[in-house]
Symmetry: C2
Subunit: 338 residues, 2 copies
DNA sequence: TGCCTTATGCTAACTATGAGCATAAGGGAG
DNA sequence: CTCCCTTATGCTCATAGTTAGCATAAGGCA
């Protein structure tokens, strides 16, 4: 996903590389001559009450972030320290997302350059306290078009596609128009194309380019055509999109969901968690089949009647398999809609 | 892959998060107070004569790198400028790899902190000139155990596994010993496990931890047990491993191989290129079927007799499909050995 | 002309996946 | 105490996707 973004950014670059004034020697020598600042931004995810949540501050307008503290040996150690202090829960899984250094990122002072390194973190429980109103928000508040658990969100056909089409039509050249139409079709799965839940970032960036999100007003967007869905400050919604995309891709081949689950759980609870992240409903029997046949879990021997209906067996993860899969990576049960 | 590395690094962190002195406020405010330096490092890949090559400097001991030039709007623009100037060829595909800021990275001055942002770039032709002896090196010089095109490299069974086993046995706790054995089995595909060509980084990091690569001597490795395979300075071989791993994963679901191919080519040439990257031999007929059925290429109408044997049709990539696949991502033909 | 080499077409066997039928087993309404 | 609703769980079937080969085509060269 990050790769896709990279390619796009690049495509959007209008600068001509030939105009650059760097000397050939720059390639082969390494003496940094510009001091910059490094900042860490975290996409912290938890799933509670069947909803995927992300830790936010400032009334949901920002992701938690802060300077890279030199006292730490690594970036990750620095991040981990913050988070565990904040949430009082261990961070189960941490993964680097992307590093930005775009000058137009916070277009204040061009000479003051900030490199922003973002991370994705998974945690088991969602509770946080502190200044600046930290709160776990359901991430579909920011991306209402990404939640397909109750079918295709009507706003896609009613608002998004028409406005994107209108935007595509504004392009002067026919080739550009066609390319835009193509991107719309692919990212939103129009016509006979399927909805691909992993393209969170591509969709957000398309909406951004089309000026349909409030964050883009500085770049020519119009508040009147902005879509429903909460905005964030700076590029934090883009970072969140990157995190969601990465997580949606990851759950398919690495057992990271487990980081979000309690000690023991029913298979349906596990399924609901995956569905919450993927924004898609899965086929129950097939989900069970895959989970069991891959021996990811084992019965605890107990059952719970709290689910209503026939009592469900409780499961826990098999430590050994987890370790193995964490290194290797196998297919995990994410499939089509019911 | 990067994610895997992230998790590992973390596992290797011996610092206790509780020892940290950061204030809670750090999580929710964003005012960087430490100036650092940013450096870009590139893994530039080309395939010539059926061999995967990487651009190096300093007699193959370093990857090209240099400071992030503030004149550029984005990190990628900065990188692109360098590279195109050096190689005089357009960089087809660029993707960010990973950002390091480990303090022990170049353990000189603890107060001088460098953030190193690495990129993977693909280019069509391999020619470079400049100072510091830039040269395209076959990447298997650095990772001889990664080339399985002529079967399993004997050094794995003869040198690597015995030494890794010996290292595993040195662990005091039984649990640690078992965990090490497990990692060895999985990363090197021992027993009934298959060789997974994507685990380049995991294998290198395992060898590093075991002190079997020259780069690890500072951390307790012994030159006498170092494996064949050229080393690099700093952590450049680790960055290269990250790049190879990423590329091996990428070619399976995005048509990036095309960035490495000439205008027109035979299907076998395409296959040989994929094989060079993957370090694995593919089944010819199946490879053809997949490439053709996915309509990735189209016949140019010409044939070449230069391949020996029956003349082969020449193909070129279908522009439209490429664009679509670049956004969407579909399965590409990488399969098992012949 | 026959053999070697690479190209290319086709298929049988198997595996993975998507969908759905059918039964099991609590809880609560009547 | 039944019936019915709900969720749990077992199984089967059809199909798409893969893997591994067999077989034929078509140049070059001894």
């Amino acid at each position: 996903m990050a790769g896709a973004m990279a390619a796009w950014h690049d495509g959007a670059d209008t600068e001509n590389a030939a105009r650059e004034s760097a000397q050939p020697g720059n390639l082969v020598t390494a003496f940094p001559d510009h001091a910059i600042e490094a900042e860490l931004t975290a996409v912290l995810v938890a799933v509670t009450d069947g909803e995927p949540r992300v830790l936010t501050i400032d009334e949901g307008r920002l992701l938690p972030s802060g300077p890279f503290v030199s006292a730490h040996r690594t970036l990750q150690a620095s991040l981990r320290a913050w988070v565990e202090q904040q949430t009082h829960h261990p961070l189960g899984y941490v993964e680097q997302l992307y590093t930005f250094a775009d000058r137009d990122r916070s277009s204040e002072d061009a000479s003051r350059r900030v490199v922003s390194i973002s991370y994705l973190g998974l945690t088991r429980q969602a509770r946080a306290s502190g200044r600046h109103h930290p709160a776990w928000r359901v991430w579909y508040r920011y991306f209402p078009w990404e939640d397909w658990r109750e079918g295709a969100p009507p706003m896609i056909a009613k608002l998004i596609v028409p406005r994107l089409r209108a935007w595509a039509a504004t392009a002067g050249e026919a080739a550009v128009r066609r390319a835009r139409q193509q991107r719309i079709r692919i990212t939103f799965g129009l016509g006979d194309l399927p909805w691909n839940e992993e393209m969170v970032l591509q969709r957000y960036e398309l909406l951004f380019e089309a000026g349909l999100v409030p964050e883009a007003i500085r770049r020519g967007g119009d508040l009147a055509t902005a879509l429903p869905g909460e905005a964030m400050l700076h590029d934090h919604r883009r970072i969140l999109a990157t995190g969601i995309a990465r997580l949606r891709a990851k759950i398919k081949y690495r057992p990271v969901v487990f980081e979000l689950m309690p000690e023991s759980f029913t298979l349906l609870q596990l399924q609901r968690t995956v569905e919450a992240l993927a924004g898609q409903i899965l086929h129950k029997q097939n989900f069970r089949r895959l989970v069991e046949q891959q021996a990811l879990v084992e019965e605890t021997g107990e059952v719970t009647t709290e689910t209503g209906g026939r009592p469900a067996k409780l499961f826990r993860f098999r430590e050994r398999v987890l370790q193995e899969r964490a290194i290797a990576g196998t297919t995990l049960p994410i499939s089509r809609m019911v």
